[in-house]
């Protein structure tokens, strides 16, 4: 199981994975997933840590087991030249402080990670039992339209699942989820939940029901949840930066493609979904796509395509 851990983590060996508190592969459980739909202040680690601590307190009151914050929840989104100023190393006092907070409650926060080589990543960090357990560095940095991420940030180079006390999970950051290949890797990597912290700017007002971008996201979340028979937990921020709104609407979608919980649009909210990962097992009685998926074929064809492209 240790192969699922990121080798760069400053953690003791994966001894915790052997402890009785961690389920063996395939065990299912009931848990409460919280979505902290917050308005981070741009470039203000101090204020955003306060928001984070408030949400953690609320999560404890609500008996949440796993709390999800949005992308860049500790920093705000349109950082531009603030990126190095707000970046955190994995051993920073702030991350140690957050790790401490995770003794009784697992959670995911978004921040800018500074690597030992002084590269900056849009990252999300999974904290559990007092330690940083996994970091996902955003792979697909949108750099078009209203987005400019690759100008300021380095690109992550892996999509890995990882083991937690709730079973095997994957984290994908916002635009990552728009790449079916990234979600596919999470699925074949054995994730029973995809955690998707996001900072999605609102746009498109021609639809009588909702924002154009919400429709797209909601379709994406339901599609993966249903086709892959897993939970998609989407935590999107709210608030405005330089006139750009972030639309919220955080949600947990179940492995049947149904909505388990949906937060409000365009305002702070805190939503809790009581889920049972046994649902993944039950739905996979019906949906045998994972069993039937031909990895070797996919790999051969990808290698052929890559060979042709780079020939």
């Amino acid at each position: 199981m240790a192969r699922h851990m990121s080798p760069a983590l400053p953690l003791p060996a994966a001894a915790h994975l052997l402890s009785a508190e961690y389920p063996g592969e395939g065990s299912t459980m009931k848990l409460r997933v919280g979505l902290a739909q917050i308005t981070p202040a741009l470039g203000r680690l101090d204020r955003n840590l306060e928001l984070c601590l408030e949400a953690l307190a609320k999560a404890r009151q609500e008996q949440v087991d796993l709390l999800l914050f949005p992308e860049l929840s500790l920093t705000g989104y349109y950082l531009k030249d603030l990126v190095p100023t707000v970046a955190q190393r994995r051993d920073s006092p702030l991350l140690r402080r957050l790790a401490d907070e995770s003794r009784d409650l697992s959670f995911v926060v978004g921040l800018v990670e500074e690597s030992p080589e002084h590269l900056y990543y849009n990252a999300c960090c999974y904290f559990e039992e007092g330690a940083l357990r996994h970091v996902h560095r955003k792979v697909y940095l949108p750099t078009y339209g209203i987005f400019d991420e690759h100008r300021y940030l380095a690109r992550g180079d892996r999509v890995r699942t990882f083991d937690t006390k709730f079973g095997r999970l994957a984290m994908l950051l916002c635009e990552d989820l728009w790449h079916p290949s990234a979600a596919y890797l999470a699925w074949v990597g054995g994730a029973r939940m995809i955690l998707a912290p996001s900072s999605s700017p609102g746009r498109g007002v021609g639809d009588p029901e909702r924002l154009g971008i919400s429709s797209t996201w909601e379709a994406i979340n339901r599609f993966y949840a249903k086709m892959f028979s897993l939970f998609v937990c989407f935590a999107n921020r709210v608030g405005y930066e330089d006139g750009i709104n972030f639309w919220g609407g955080s949600e947990v979608v179940g492995p049947d493609g149904g909505t388990v919980v949906k937060a409000e649009y365009l305002q702070d909210d805190f939503a809790v979904a009581a889920i049972d990962t046994a649902e993944v097992r039950r739905l996979r009685f019906f949906n045998t796509l994972l069993r039937d998926e031909d990895l070797a074929l996919t790999l051969r064809e990808l290698q052929r395509l890559a060979g042709e492209r780079y020939a």
């Binding site: 308005t39 741009l42 030249d81 603030l82 007002v205 639809d207 608030g239 405005y240 330089d242 365009l266």
Partner: protein
């Protein structure tokens, strides 16, 4: 292929209202302010901006400034007072005739363009001064059509701290104004900058807002080419004129150029959001 006659600019007014009201509340309060001042002309754009501000901040936090010139249409003032009365906001009437006439006393040959621009800039200086009195931000009232066509005065009516309606076209301003309860006569009347007697936007521009909004939507929002638009049924000369106006007026939508000499130049490689630290 898109058809010129099939373009639909209908917006979800409840959603846009929520976005714009939230925008004003958020962007005003996070800089530590509570209030805005807005120049109310009697037209639909400034009326809509005022309704949005009142919904966002409360009527007690919106100050309307009416700034007529001696040739302004008296109906404009009546309509402006209708907005003030309907919302129950504080207001002030400041006649700009003495300032404008004092200046042009020295330049009697000045044409309508110079006079109109000067009036727009006079009003801007008054709004900024009144914003200091009210401890408020200046609210913008330029819509997307005007901004794209450059149909406004640089550092005049185009100047503001924040503009809630700059990303919606004139025809969409009408939809939202109606939905938010802007008085019907203001929504219905012929658009005019009212810089001189009998001025009409559409006569001056040479096309209607309805026509140009459909064109701009396809050209700007949907990124169709000029060739596509002609094929879609728009008149070729109309397409060319509008495309050229959008290009030629880009300067009005940008801050002044700065000559680069250092390692880090403002807005080039010194890049921060305006909401830095907010």
């Amino acid at each position: 292929m898109i058809r010129a006659t099939e373009v639909n600019l209908t917006i979800n007014t409840a959603l846009v209202e929520k976005l714009l009201v939230g925008f004003v509340a958020n962007e005003v309060r996070k800089v530590g302010m509570e209030r805005v001042v807005v120049g109310i002309s009697g037209g639909i754009d400034s009326a809509l901006s005022t309704y949005i501000a009142a919904a966002a901040l409360g009527r007690e936090n919106v100050v309307g400034i009416l700034m007529p010139y001696k040739t302004s249409n008296p109906e404009s003032k009546e309509d402006a007072l209708r907005v003030v009365g309907d919302l129950g906001i504080e207001h002030r009437v400041i006649d700009i005739t003495p300032m404008i006439d004092a200046y042009f006393g020295a330049f009697p040959e000045a044409d309508q363009m110079r006079r109109g621009n000067k009036m727009a800039r006079e009003r801007m200086t008054i709004l900024y001064d009144q914003s200091a009195v009210a401890r408020a931000l200046v609210l913008g009232t330029s819509n997307k059509t005007e901004l794209l066509l450059g149909y406004g005065t640089l550092y005049g009516d185009m100047a503001s701290a924040l503009n809630p309606i700059g990303d919606i076209y004139k025809t969409q301003v009408r939809q939202l104004a109606k939905a938010m309860g802007v008085p019907a006569p203001i929504v219905a009347k012929t658009p005019s900058a009212d810089l001189w007697l009998g001025q009409s936007d559409e006569a001056e521009l040479g096309f209607t807002y309805d026509e140009v909004d459909r064109l701009l939507y396809l050209y700007v929002d949907q990124r169709y080419s000029s060739e596509d638009l002609v094929e879609a049924g728009f008149d070729a000369l109309f397409v060319a004129r509008v495309a050229e106006r959008v290009r030629a007026n880009q300067f009005k939508r940008r801050p002044p150029l700065i000559a680069k000499v250092s390692e880090r130049t403002i807005d080039r490689d010194f890049r921060y959001a305006r909401d830095w630290g907010r």
